[in-house]
Symmetry: C2
Subunit: 415 residues, 2 copies
């Protein structure tokens, strides 16, 4: 008969969450810990020390990712890696990213304690950067370094909100920018990331855990709508070319289209500006940004085509000029079906109520997926909140998620 699965004490998990939340503490429940800041360094130092204390071999790589290694007995096999990121929004909450790092250390420590040396090497990684909260264009600095996606020019071209290059900031934090390629790994088999859901789907379904089968594809557009500025009183409606009227119709159209299409399509307009932005002047320009996502590759492209067609139709009908600029995009990432099955089975073994679901947020896993099989585990978020100090996941849910992660890693590395 198999041994009962390893479980974790929610109080211990909570103590570690609170301990890491001291670094960059913001108000009662917030954290502000941008990459390479002193708070970030203090958090990474705590992770490194904790890894050492549980008997993992610890090393920092060239960009500041921390690796805790539990060497396997079969030297020819590639590593199984779990982890997430340690940086935060400014401010963000205590769980986003860091819970995956905590989970990995708990899991490896418990597996080592109960089962000793694995067949296949297990590693936990505390990635240096995911949030783009200090440098808007880092695009997953930690996992880009590991997967060899950092271009030499990025060191001077990735600029912080404060105007520094990431190369300068790395140097000041004690990392040598000329050595970033040393972070590249080519010996990884699998990457498993536990993360808070950041949405309300598990909560509304009454489930603590999700197994993620795909990560959404995303595109950010800037839409610039140009019309003719006129006096708000003296210029009659029928002669106007009003970009605000056009932009409002476009925004309604794209948001309503995603809403009518239903889950998992999402379209958001979070950012808007008008010029000259005076109360009594018809603007001559309105600019807004669209964030549109779908985890199905074909459905995603269809959604974008519909958005673009609607925007052009509205502009033409209203005599407006429109320019759509693609800012960035990621294709959807389809998780490894074998790993999905492994972790579904692990959830059943542990007795964790779960569903298999897609992720509407982007994650390091889709970067790591370029060099290894990937999968994610979600744990329930209160009210679906994230990127805010109000972000919350209960200790019980977190502990249950760590149990699922641990059981899955066991079947991968020890059996």
């Amino acid at each position: 008969m198999a041994a009962s699965p390893i479980t974790f004490d929610p109080a211990n998990v909570w103590a570690r969450i609170e301990s890491l939340a001291r670094h960059g503490k913001h108000g009662d429940t917030g954290v502000s810990r941008p990459v390479y800041s002193p708070a970030w360094r203090a958090a990474q130092d705590e992770v490194a020390a904790w890894c050492e204390s549980v008997g993992l071999d610890v090393r920092w790589d060239a960009v500041g990712n921390i690796w805790g290694v539990l060497k396997g007995s079969e030297a020819d096999k590639k590593s199984i890696v779990t982890g997430s990121h340690i940086d935060s929004q400014r401010p963000g909450g205590r769980f986003d990213g860091v819970l995956g790092v905590i989970s990995g250390v708990f899991a490896l420590a418990a597996l080592k304690e109960r089962y000793g040396t694995p067949k296949q090497t297990l590693e936990v990684v505390s990635l240096c950067e995911e949030e783009s909260s200090r440098f808007p264009t880092t695009e997953f600095w930690g996992s880009r370094a590991i997967t060899g996606r950092i271009k030499p020019d990025d060191l001077k071209n990735v600029i912080s909100y404060e105007g520094e290059s990431i190369g300068e900031v790395m140097q000041a934090a004690g990392f040598d920018p000329s050595r970033v390629t040393e972070a590249i790994r080519t010996d990884l088999d699998a990457f498993i990331e536990l993360h808070i859901e950041q949405g309300p789907l598990l909560e509304t379904a009454g489930l603590p855990v999700g197994v993620v089968s795909a990560i959404t594809g995303i595109r950010h557009y800037i839409v610039t709508v140009d019309g003719v500025s006129n006096h708000a009183g003296a210029f009659p409606m029928d002669l106007r070319r009003d970009p605000m009227a056009g932009a409002a119709e476009m925004i309604s159209n794209v948001i309503n289209r995603a809403a009518n299409q239903g889950r998992p399509a999402v379209t958001t307009v979070g950012r808007i500006s008008a010029e000259p932005n005076f109360p009594a002047i018809v603007p001559d320009r309105v600019t807004f940004m669209i964030d549109a996502r779908h985890p199905d590759p074909a459905a995603r492209l269809k959604l974008y085509a519909e958005h673009e067609a609607a925007i052009h139709e509205i502009a033409e009908r209203r005599g407006l000029n429109v320019e759509i600029t693609d800012l960035k995009g990621h294709d959807p990432y389809i998780c490894d079906p074998g790993l999905v099955s492994t972790f579904e089975e692990a959830a059943r073994t542990v007795g964790a109520p779960f569903q298999t679901m897609t992720s509407g947020a982007v994650h390091d896993t889709q970067r790591m997926g370029a060099i290894a099989r990937g999968v994610m585990l979600f744990v329930r978020s209160k009210d679906g909140r994230s990127h805010t100090p109000a972000e919350y996941t209960s200790p019980e849910d977190a502990a249950l998620g760590i149990g699922v992660l641990t059981e899955g890693l066991r079947t991968l590395a020890y059996v």
Copy 2:
């Protein structure tokens, strides 16, 4: 047989427009001349000197309005006043306001030269402020002073974009704020303001001149739409309370409603902001401003009621909280029917093709209307542009408008 009406040489009118445009010149054709600035002072000084040179009695009043007086023979009669304002947007054009001042001086000089002393006193006024371009809440500082509508607190409560009180700024410009009530006039019979149209109606009708029968009523609202901020990817459309979706629908609704109602209803949204204004976050608040106008008192209130009902319906349906704040409003101003007839007849006498029309822009005339009969004359604006250096009225149209003004003043003051 009556003498032929007085006419004006477009070249002389143009020379005066160019001369005044030197003060606060902005680029080739713009003017930036906020009230009480050195450029404003230079322009008022030029007007005062010009009035003196044509034989008018000149005085500055307590707030910096300049009056040029042609005393009438019948001392018991109240004054007939023409004029407009000398301040500008930042930058505005060369015509808005200043053309009415120029017209008044040309008219009085020509009447004095041909007909000598009028029966009823004629005055030209160069009002100090109309544009709210330095202090957002002046609300017609010059005509408010004349009509006794400045409250003592306004001197410290009217604050410039740069943070100064209007009392301080007056003092620095050489005016004594404690004496503002000395600007009050109770001896005015009529106020006639010639102004550029600021809209395209005369141009599209192919007419150089308009006689204004009513000035629009206006209301400015701030609409604050509150929802719940969420992750743009992880939060499904059906569970969102997205204030951007609501605001876009509201903006479309109010703009389309005025457009569908047709002239002269106008509704404009010129100003908008989102919080936190990030591309990948559903905003928690969108704020926008509505400027809605109609010159018919009953139709105006109906338009506002429809706007407010639509906004509340959309907010309720989408689970959003909405707050509508009335910022300011003016009732429509109905011009004096006798004066409207006088100036229609003057246009016919002069042979100026004209139409009788309403004004969608607000003007000093509606303030002056509190103490005197009022009417306006419009002259054609190229492309309906105003509040921009691109503002343009041809010298020929301007000269023709001055002819109509002069003929009307003649019938009022000399017959």
